[in-house]
């Protein structure tokens, strides 16, 4: 009898070779291979540089690709996949954090979980507290369901004003803390967040603190630590994470949150895992176990980020201390003007972020090569090519 591999039309090794993804330069080569495939399919003209949505430019890693391929080729009976694998995914996430499956909820991106938290823990009489400039999902949803929002302006360094947010937390349903904060890219240290949590829970014991760590894997500041341990210990703390950023799976729509079983149960009761798709579950299951790839992605991002920060600094523009895969840069002119000029030259940067839309722009970090190309465009648009070079 033939070994299983030989019975397949292609062995895994052949598959990898076919796609040109063995050996060095793996990821870049893979992208070319997929691009080649798309060309054969008659798809798509060249695309602009996508530096507007804080995506991972490389997509999911090799393990994720292999997992999806295996799932598609396996030939097991229909229906076995999603049900077993969602449990596996919850278990794998739990293990990564030394928790149990009952501490984990998954959603269609972390956005769905952020909404569930606002749904379950706020009301018309229990407001949401959020930064005046932070990820808008919670405030947007609060407005939809009629929950008042206490919007707290950033401090002078464009960081979330933890003191003012704590002061505003009394009687609130949810305090939303995005750390690092999108779109300002700034971070609060583990000590600062710990003190903030204590202060809020002392002032307002029934308030739930929702900590969104979407960009956790891109942080390089050593004062940072995840708040997952606090979430596991305290029913009033939730930590949300996503596969959309460092895991490179924005298109697969999987996010998760960790917390106390009671709290997780409440989040789960709202919409469950019903919006998750099978491909996302399969790919997330592989990606969560692939710590090496996460670290490689973080290193890659750090280098490209530093290059971009340095370029802007030399050109005379300052960015906040980014701990993410994007920069918030003071370009001393309206974002709209800059954005439209960049777009005309094939580079997309982010939309307006009031109240800073007259001076700041958010630029996502692509590959180093992409950032070099983008820098040439930024130079032309800002009129600083010579200085920067």
């Amino acid at each position: 009898m033939l070994p299983k591999e030989s019975a397949m039309p292609f062995t895994r090794r052949t598959f990898v070779k076919t796609l040109g993804i063995g050996g060095a330069g793996v990821l870049a080569a893979r992208r070319d291979a997929w691009a080649g495939l798309a060309d054969v399919a008659g798809a798509a003209p060249p695309r602009p540089l996508l530096l507007h949505n804080n995506e991972n430019p490389l997509g999911p890693g090799q393990a994720a690709l292999d997992a999806l391929r295996a799932a598609l080729g396996e030939g097991a009976p229909a229906g076995r996949y999603v049900f077993t694998r969602i449990d596996e995914l919850h278990q794998a996430i739990a293990e990564k954090f030394g928790a149990k499956a009952e501490n984990v909820v998954t959603g269609c991106g972390s956005t769905q979980i952020l909404r569930a938290a606002v749904q379950m823990f706020t009301s018309p009489t229990r407001p949401l507290v959020a930064g005046e400039l932070t990820y808008e999902e919670c405030a947007g949803y609060a407005e939809l369901i009629g929950t008042p929002v206490r919007a707290i302006p950033l401090d002078r360094t464009l960081k979330l004003d933890l003191g003012a947010m704590a002061d505003a937390s009394k009687g609130a349903g949810v305090v939303f803390l995005n750390n690092p904060n999108n779109p300002t890219a700034t971070l609060h240290s583990a000590d600062a967040v710990g003190a903030f949590v204590d202060r809020v829970l002392t002032a307002s014991p029934d308030t739930t603190i929702l900590i969104d760590e979407a960009y956790h894997d891109y942080v390089t500041d050593r004062s940072h630590k995840t708040q997952v341990p606090a979430a596991l210990a305290n029913p009033r703390v939730i930590v949300a994470r996503t596969f959309s950023k460092a895991h490179g799976m924005a298109g697969m729509r999987v996010g998760y949150a960790l917390g106390h079983p009671e709290t997780i149960q409440k989040l789960e009761s709202w919409e469950g895992s019903n919006a998750l798709n099978v491909a996302g579950i399969v790919v997330a299951n592989a990606s969560i176990r692939d710590q090496a790839r996460l670290e490689a992605e973080s290193d890659r991002n750090t280098k490209a980020r530093q290059f971009t920060i340095d370029w802007f600094a030399k050109a005379g523009y300052s960015a906040t201390d980014s701990q993410t895969n994007f920069l918030f840069v003071n370009i001393k002119r309206p974002a709209k003007e800059f954005r439209e000029a960049c777009r005309a030259r094939g580079v997309l940067v982010a939309r307006d972020f009031p109240p800073f839309e007259k001076s700041h722009v958010r630029i996502s970090i692509g590959t180093l090569d992409e950032m070099k190309r983008a820098a040439q465009v930024f130079g032309k648009v800002l009129g600083v090519t010579a200085k920067a070079a």
Binding site: M8, G59, A275, N277, V278, A279, V282
Partner: protein, 387 residues
């Protein structure tokens, strides 16, 4: 390095092995777990290579080859939000619009139709404006109403399992939303275009503030010549809209693609409430390809119709009444509790539908698998039903 599309698809096992690979996407068994809000593990507890899973009204063959190729081809964009992916969510909206001869503004996307049913309950009901649904019918709207503390009026289906149009029209007065599942799950019966149109006209006349959700999840399986989609009614009235899903005939239950059709302003409201990025980039590609492949759906309908006739005939020969079905399942009046029948079948590795109160003491729902699966299942049914 360039790879040919063909060699790539062979490499992922989609060449000669297409039927195997679709299993992931079809995700049979999902509907039961969702509708009953069962934990996923429970739904899968009996998962086994030899079992016949005819419990959840999903296409046993999964999507067609065009969809599978598109799905795999889209992996290039797995890292891109579905708004940036190629094709994008906007492209999917356009593909649906093209398929239904409407404008993209008339389309709202959902993570399966499940999300859209929930949104409809939110948009149109309140503590003083109740939900009207049939009993039994698909439970998602009712479950959402319960979560929000909204009153529900349940109107029993008639003896053939059809929606009681008279009863529902009466219950619709002063209601916020009428959930009109046509054909109705789990009973299988369909109402003609004329009957639906008269019902809508009457409700809008007698209760002008009431919205009507016409769920056409099983549209592609209908063979009744009097039936037609209610999309034209949805385009005509701001408070009427139609939902569809790619989880049934399109065979993509695992990918979570549903949509609603209605007036632009109505769809705007759905989009405002939608889960952010409620499509994934691979599903978008698969859905766009599927919608451009109507022949696959025609073939699936023909296949299902044959299996439906075979299965209906089988139960009738055994002396059981089968409610008229225009879907990919049949509700059989067994005169014994569904639970008893289901558990006996499960022992023989045949999984049939869960309880559907208030008919759970007498009726069992059997989804239609492949003809081969149904032939094998019938041996088990014969042994259990003892005739």
């Amino acid at each position: 390095m360039q790879v040919s599309r063909r060699s790539f698809l062979d490499a992922v096992g989609l060449g000669a092995r297409a039927p195997l690979s679709a299993a992931l996407i079809a995700a049979r068994g999902r509907e039961a777990a969702l509708a009953a809000a069962m934990p996923f593990a429970a739904a899968d507890s009996a998962a086994d290579a030899d079992e016949i899973r005819i419990s959840s009204n999903e296409n046993p063959l999964g999507p067609g080859r065009a969809a599978m190729e598109a799905f795999v081809g889209a992996f290039e964009d797995a890292g891109r939000y579905p708004t940036n992916a190629r094709p994008s969510m906007a492209d999917l909206r356009e593909a649906i619009a093209r398929r239904q001869s409407v404008r993209p503004e008339n389309v709202a996307l959902g993570s399966g139709s499940w999300e859209l049913l929930r949104t409809a309950v939110r948009l149109y009901t309140s503590s003083s404006r109740h939900l009207v649904t049939a009993s039994p019918s698909f439970e998602s709207p009712e479950q959402m109403a319960q979560q929000l503390g909204i009153p529900v009026k349940r109107v029993p289906v008639d003896k053939d399992g059809r929606l009681d149009l008279e009863g529902m029209a009466k219950a619709a007065r002063w209601s916020g939303l009428v959930f009109f599942c046509n054909p109705n799950n789990p009973t299988g019966g369909v109402h003609t275009a004329k009957a639906v149109s008269e019902f809508v006209g009457r409700v809008l006349r007698e209760s002008p503030e009431t919205a009507i959700l016409i769920d056409e999840a099983y549209h592609d399986y209908v063979t009744d010549p009097g039936y037609a989609t209610a999309i034209s009614l949805a385009l005509e009235h701001p408070n009427v809209f139609v939902t569809r899903t790619l989880s049934k005939a399109y065979g993509m239950a695992g990918l979570r693609v549903g949509y609603a059709i209605g007036q632009a302003r109505t769809m705007e409201a759905f989009n405002r409430w939608a889960i952010t990025f409620n499509q994934n980039s691979l599903s978008v590609a698969a859905a766009v390809a599927s919608l451009a492949d109507p022949a696959h759906i025609e073939a699936e309908r023909a296949r299902n119709t044959e299996v439906r006739a075979f299965t209906t005939g089988f139960f009738q020969k055994l002396g059981y009444r089968v409610l008229p079905s225009d879907t990919n399942f049949v509700l059989v009046e067994l005169g014994r509790p569904a639970k008893e029948f289901r558990e006996a079948c499960a022992k023989e590795k045949v999984l049939v539908g869960r309880d559907f109160p208030p008919l759970e003491k007498t009726h069992a729902r059997v989804s239609l698998g492949t003809l081969d699966e149904m032939k094998r299942a019938n041996h088990v049914f014969t042994a259990i039903l003892g005739k």
